[in-house]
């Protein structure tokens, strides 16, 4: 495991949404007591990302995939678990010791309209992180780096004195990518980077991301809900449901032969161009809230194969013979 770029071990992130002290007080059983309301967004997740690969995390809204990406980037502190970058533990560092890793790990966001500061010119947006991490650079060198990055993301360096509102969504997303690239990272968390864009622009940004990966040897953690995009660009994919990783496999293996019942339902629902309607696996019930997680396997309430064991015991990710990992008692027992 030492060759992995990033390794995440038993990562857990909960959000306390119980509000102030007064909101926490409950009355039950004849007396008052304090009760916290926790959203269990990410539970006990482990995986590795290799240098230069694209690892995608997919799942439906509310499954915790964005929280996972943000926790890895240190935007949220994990409640439990560890994050290692090239073997160094980084989840417990103070902001100052984290700085060298900030250069190596960058992030691209979903909403191109919110991710650029509307009051900052493109030059200011690109210059600030560059100078902050490289205080010794001369003005000329800064200018060169900005121009180089702008060209690399396919934007005109002449635009740098403009404000974000003068650009289209696709152009803004290029600038967001430029901002991530300017400190010369080797790992980028891309949180739904194309879902706010039009189809013809999506292809441009995806191509750009693939080109940059080849040129710079970048590794991506690609967080997305669009399965056909994920299938296209990923080396490996992890499927999340209710804060838990339920299946993790090489892309082709996962899409051709999903094993986890949830992955199967998800894959069957992908709209395929020219494919006939229907034929997808119908799930009963609805996604439970991450506030009251089901006992046992989080999927048991909707799973057609659930039995008593599933209702009690939480399945762990288990490696199968073909290398994929599945968290399912049914698969382990050979029932599915």
């Amino acid at each position: 495991m030492s060759e992995s770029l990033l390794s995440v071990r038993n990562l857990t992130r909960h959000f306390d949404i119980s509000g102030g002290l007064l909101d926490q007080i409950r009355f039950s059983g004849g007396r008052f007591h304090r009760q916290k309301t926790l959203v269990r967004a990410v539970n006990n997740i482990s995986f590795d990302i290799l240098p230069g690969e694209t690892f995608s995390v997919v799942g439906e809204s509310g499954c915790g995939k964005s929280t996972l990406g943000r926790t890895i980037m240190g935007l949220y502190a994990p409640n439990a678990g560890e994050i290692h970058y090239r073997g160094d533990r980084i989840d417990n560092l103070d902001p100052r010791s984290l700085l060298p890793y900030r250069r190596k790990m960058q992030m691209v966001f979903q909403d191109p309209y919110a991710s650029l500061n509307p009051r900052k010119t493109i030059r200011q947006t690109l210059e600030a992180p560059l100078r902050y991490h490289n205080p010794k650079l001369s003005n000329g060198e800064v200018q060169d780096r900005i121009e180089e990055v702008m060209l690399q993301v396919g934007s005109d360096p002449q635009w740098i004195s403009r404000l974000p509102h003068e650009f289209s969504g696709g152009q803004r997303q290029r600038i967001s990518i430029a901002r991530a690239l300017i400190v010369d990272p080797e790992f980028i968390v891309a949180d739904e980077p194309i879902s706010a864009l039009d189809v013809s622009i999506q292809a441009q940004i995806l191509n750009l991301m693939m080109d940059l990966q080849q040129q710079r040897g970048l590794a991506y953690l690609f967080v997305a809900h669009d399965l056909s995009v994920v299938e296209h660009i990923s080396d490996r994919v992890g499927v999340m449901y209710l804060g838990t990783m339920c299946e993790l496999a090489e892309t082709a293996a996962l899409f051709e032969n999903p094993r986890h019942p949830y992955t199967r339902a998800l894959m069957s629902a992908i709209p395929r161009l020219g494919g006939g309607p229907g034929g997808h696996v119908r799930l009963r019930g609805e996604v439970p809230t991450p506030i009251n997680l089901p006992s046992g396997c989080v999927f048991h309430g909707r799973c057609p194969h659930a039995n008593d064991r599933c209702r009690v015991e939480i399945p762990g990710l288990r490696r199968l013979d073909d290398g994929r990992q599945v968290a399912c008692h049914g698969v382990e027992e050979g029932r599915i």
Binding site: P271, L273, L283
Partner: protein, 327 residues
Amino acid sequence: MAKLLEVRDLVIRFGLRTGEVTATSGVSFSLDRGERLGLVGESGAGKSVTGFSIINLISKPGYIASGEVNFNGENLARVSPERMRQIRGNRISMIFQDPMMTLNPVLTIGTQMTEVLHRHRPELSREQARDIALDKLRKVHIPSPEKRLEQYPHEFSGGMRQRIIIAIALLTDPELIIADEPTTALDVTIQAEIMDLLMELCEKDGMGLILITHDLAVVSQVTQNIAVMYAGRIVEKGPTSRVIAQPQHPYTRGLIAALPQSSRHGERLNQIPGMMPTLKDMPPGCAFNPRCPHVMEICHRQIPALRPGSNGNMAACHLYPEENAHE
């Protein structure tokens, strides 16, 4: 038998502070009873405004400058607001992307459903209205509808809310449903269920459906015919399977090629360079000419009319000879 809906040469303009802009021009399409039509395009292509114009719901600075919207032979672009109210929400229903736009958060589902019914059919008693509401909720597969009638919108999940919107749209047994990005805010598993539901309803009750969306894959599964819009005009229309398999217009070709396909894992996607022009800076001639790989001299001068392409699809492109340009 006459067409259910026939839109002819629809021109929609917006009076903005910087001057008038044309949102759509020369939009024509028709719909038979029970037909499902997909109106596809990227944001700003004019597909939503076309949908809204059918029921005369374009918001303020916009207006129908010319053209006809014939619904059962009646030109809706010219009818009185009163007559429009009788048709809208009654003979034609609309489903929006965000269910909360349609649902009132402080009223129960039951109250909202019976209110809609009473507006269009005042003769119904409370019990009759309730029975119809229950029937429609069952139709959209909502479990234990009696209990659900008493609940408020926030007590439903996103997918359930969209089902309720569909149930409300069905209340008056409309002949046509216009669905504007009905599943864009939903997850894929729920999207698949909603699309199944819409298809089932159309097939069972012979309703017409206009599905407005940016998602070619969804349209290709649900509709029989497709009209592709670009920069306010229909650039290609034809039977869904043919448009998807043999697109004629370079824009449609580019759009389909830009979709990731499992067979070409990791390869560069086919991208259309540039972006769609905004309404204010339309290029002269064909609006697609700055991005088109086959651009010719005539494309800069003349806006191409819809004409049959090599396989019978209608395409608005100078690649196809003018002689064919009679419908």
